[in-house]
């Protein structure tokens, strides 16, 4: 990937609502345009991250899954 990831959050093993809450806490410390990477194992985090990005206006740039780990890359609004 060309753009630099500013912060990576390891949210593996955490259950609802922690992946979203911890992402919301972490993204406050970033600048607009910064990329944050979140790694989660909670299957509910897939629709949750989509919904969270829609409602907060942060952009879900990338979403993938490998070895039961869901990876989200979000650009801060």
């Amino acid at each position: 990937m060309s753009a630099q990831i500013t912060r990576t959050l390891d949210l593996k093993g955490l259950s609802c609502p922690l992946p979203i809450v911890k992402t919301a806490q972490a993204i406050r410390k970033l600048q607009s345009g910064d990329l944050i990477e979140a790694l989660a194992t909670d299957p509910g985090s897939v629709p949750d991250f989509e919904a969270w990005c829609t409602t907060t206006g942060n952009e879900l740039v990338e979403q993938s899954e490998a070895d039961d780990v869901f990876r989200f890359v979000i650009r801060k609004k």
Binding site: S15, I20, V21, Q25, W52
Partner: protein, 176 residues
Amino acid sequence: MAVREAELEIPAHEHEDQHKHQKLVIIAWSGDLDKVWPQMILATTGAAMGMQTTIFFTFWGLFSLVKDGVHITGENWMQKMVAMMDRPGMEHLKLGKMNFAGAGPKMMKHLAKEHKVASPGELLEMARDLGVRLVPCQMTMDLLGLTREDMIEGLGDPVGATTMLLEAQDAVTLFI
């Protein structure tokens, strides 16, 4: 004509709904673990979603805000008895059903730890960090003889039902 009116109504309605999505009011009346948990989960999630979130703690819900080290609250013997029968504080919550003298909550907390579900106390900390307003009910404080000294730091000023209903007018409101 009727169709036209209906058409006109839609945008106004949509606007109202849009506004409603920005605010969340949780009326936390229960002090049972099985209710306090969702109170905290929904409050942190609402705040994480950028909703202006307020929890109004009233009746048994207020006991969650009592400092952990405080066992007995109240000024007269009846208020003290209430606290003795039901120890206040976030770490001493009971289940509304299947409490089994504390075995129920113990099992729930064990399961939660295993599944990495945050405890109500941890979620309360996160809620505060995300700017959730924690507002105690003045009437219940008087009723139970609770003072500000009995309660955790960082609470909003105690208010009454009117203030809270006004706040709830344009908010998604949950009664838990």
